[in-house]
């Protein structure tokens, strides 16, 4: 049965370890099962679904800027960025925040997960990984790429980009666009998660800092290795105020649609974990009174939910 089930949980104990050996998860006491399901089950579901959606998003944002650039390079296959920037994108500059999301993220604390077991239904009904959500994240990626590409190329067009009259070339545009992509993608992560420990801060802001450090280090290698990136940040981009202002504009404009969507969603169509977060925020001043309020309302909701689930089950059995 353990092997046949989607998830088999074995309990190690007096009767031996056979169950543990053939199960997916093993626990030591039966009472741990509640925590396994309600806390870790909920967290893992949210982490995995968010991680996958975010992964698509960040690669779409990156890839589509390359695609739009091709339209301006007569589709010859010239990448908009230096080869090493592209190789390091998924390894250094955007991987750590995703790991922080996939391993550490919590939308609701453990105590509240146990207190509101209905939160587990988000996983059962696959609310956080439905097609609309996946496609929503993907279109966010495409939209971000459009904003990044067109705002960058229109701001840093063919005019001089510094006071000393130097005109824009391939290197500068590549660095400007790539910086905007790295910033936008990492700040999007900061907007999506609700749980910041020192780890998340370190990974997110550290990845952005790593990009600049990489530019300096790679740019100081001899031109035989660094080809188009030779001294590009130190000499060309960093003294240019236009470069920094463009990065700021592009990042804020890219994140604005998502932020707007979140503001609307939490106001008009909040999900269950949004409500729980707000209730926690509302504070312990109303906790005592609201506890009784909420617990008297919950049973009615649970009733309705159970009826709905039974109806679903009946339908499936037919």
């Amino acid at each position: 049965m353990l092997q046949e089930a989607d998830i088999g949980v074995g309990i190690s104990g007096v009767e031996g370890m056979q169950a543990v050996m053939s199960s997916d998860y093993a626990i030591a006491q039966f009472r741990f099962l509640e925590r396994l399901l309600l806390v870790h089950g909920h967290w893992c579901y949210r982490r995995i679904s968010m991680m996958i959606c975010y992964f698509f998003y960040k690669n779409l944002t990156f890839g589509f800027t390359l695609f739009w650039y091709e339209a301006y390079a007569s589709f010859s296959g010239r990448p908009a960025y230096n080869d090493w920037y592209m190789s390091c994108y998924n390894v250094f500059f955007t991987s750590l925040p995703v790991i922080a999301l996939g391993v550490f993220d919590q939308d609701v604390s453990a105590r509240l997960c146990l207190k509101y077991p209905l939160l587990y239904q988000e996983g059962v009904q696959n609310i956080l990984f439905s097609w609309p959500r996946i496609l929503g994240w993907m279109s966010n990626g495409v939209l971000s790429a459009i904003i990044i590409f067109f705002f960058t190329t229109n701001s840093i067009f063919n005019q001089a980009f510094r006071k000393d009259g130097h005109a824009v070339d391939y290197e500068v545009l590549g660095v400007a666009m790539y910086s905007s992509v790295v910033w936008a993608v990492n700040c999007q992560m900061a907007l999506s998660i609700n749980y910041f420990t020192w780890i998340q801060h370190f990974f997110i802001w550290g990845s952005i800092a790593l990009w600049y450090i990489f530019l300096v280090v790679y740019g100081s290698l001899p031109p035989t290795f660094s080809t188009t990136a030779y001294k590009v940040l130190v000499e060309a981009c960093a003294p240019s105020i236009l470069y920094w202002l463009t990065t700021l504009l592009v990042v804020v404009s890219t994140l604005l649609p998502y932020f707007l969507y979140r503001a609307f969603q939490t106001r008009f169509r909040p999900m269950y974990h949004d409500l729980i977060q707000r209730q926690r925020l509302e504070g312990s001043e109303t906790e005592i009174s609201s506890q009784t309020e909420v617990s008297s309302e919950l049973p009615a909701q649970v009733e309705i939910k159970m009826q709905h689930l039974k109806a679903n089950l009946r339908q499936r059995n037919q």
Partner: protein, 354 residues
Amino acid sequence: MMNSNAASSSTANPDAAGSPDPPAPRRSSKRPKYSKFTQQELPACKPILTPKWVILTFLVVGIAFVPIGITSLLASRDVVEIVDRYETDCIPVANRTDKVAFIQSNASKTCTRQITVTKHMKRPVYVYYQLDNFYQNHRRYVKSRNDEQLKKRSKTSETSQCEPEDTTPDGKPIVPCGLIAWSLFNDTYTFSRNKRQLTVNKNGIAWKSDRDHKFGKEVFPSNFQNGTLIGGAHLDESIPLSKQEDLIVWMRTAALPTFRKLYGKIEVDLEENDIIDVILENNYNTYSFSGKKKLVLSTTSWLGGKNDFLGIAYLTVGGLCFFLALSFTIVYLVKPRRLGDPSYLSWNRNPGGH
């Protein structure tokens, strides 16, 4: 088939450690050592998107962006830029039906233009040439160079990737090899005002890192533009590559098909209503691919050249944020909602439905 209450443990499992002995003080607990990290209880900050934060964020963005937008727009408006498109006008009327034949012939290509200065231009006035529809970012074109050869005298015979401009028919290497160098822009401009010549400073137009590290001080052009097809300018064989600034500027390939490259700087002020006479040599063949050629005179500000887009974009985003802050304030005031109100859950709104 095992199940969790496999009582078929007839093989007595000695693995009954943690055995249910009568509760003895010396029973060792298997409980793992507590640490905040492993128990996922690190001190955390858990920001939530409340109405206060939404409005505050929009306001902050608006307040930050509008001044930036205004200063950028003012800086861009301060820049004086004169653009003169000349590739059609500089072909004599009689030859305009077959421009390619004209440009490839030996006829005189000298052309005089007149530019009127619209506003006072403070020095230095930068002179650029702008090309449109020229894909300097084409992959095959960009590949066609050899960086080793450009840098070191000992690597003069390295011409890989430079085909077809790598060697002469009798096998001697072309320095600098490749299509980028071969297509070097060769229109020239001389400026005069009131019959007095304006000198164009052609030093320091290339990036310092290119001059010092990418183009060798001991590499001299040889066998350059010797073939039947002339692609662009000729190079003085006695000047090392590190001092051939036009070549260095040209070889730093552009990002987009419409680009400008620095030609030189005019180190005097230009007054309003000055008439600048330009004598230009219209040598470069952009007619085969309907490219455009433009001469640009421009000053710069702290932000660079003339481009209103940044200022307008900042103002638009800032204005939009103010508008959103206002609308959210109205929404929150008009339809306040008790936070954490469970009546908004979907299953409470349509009971029994989904």
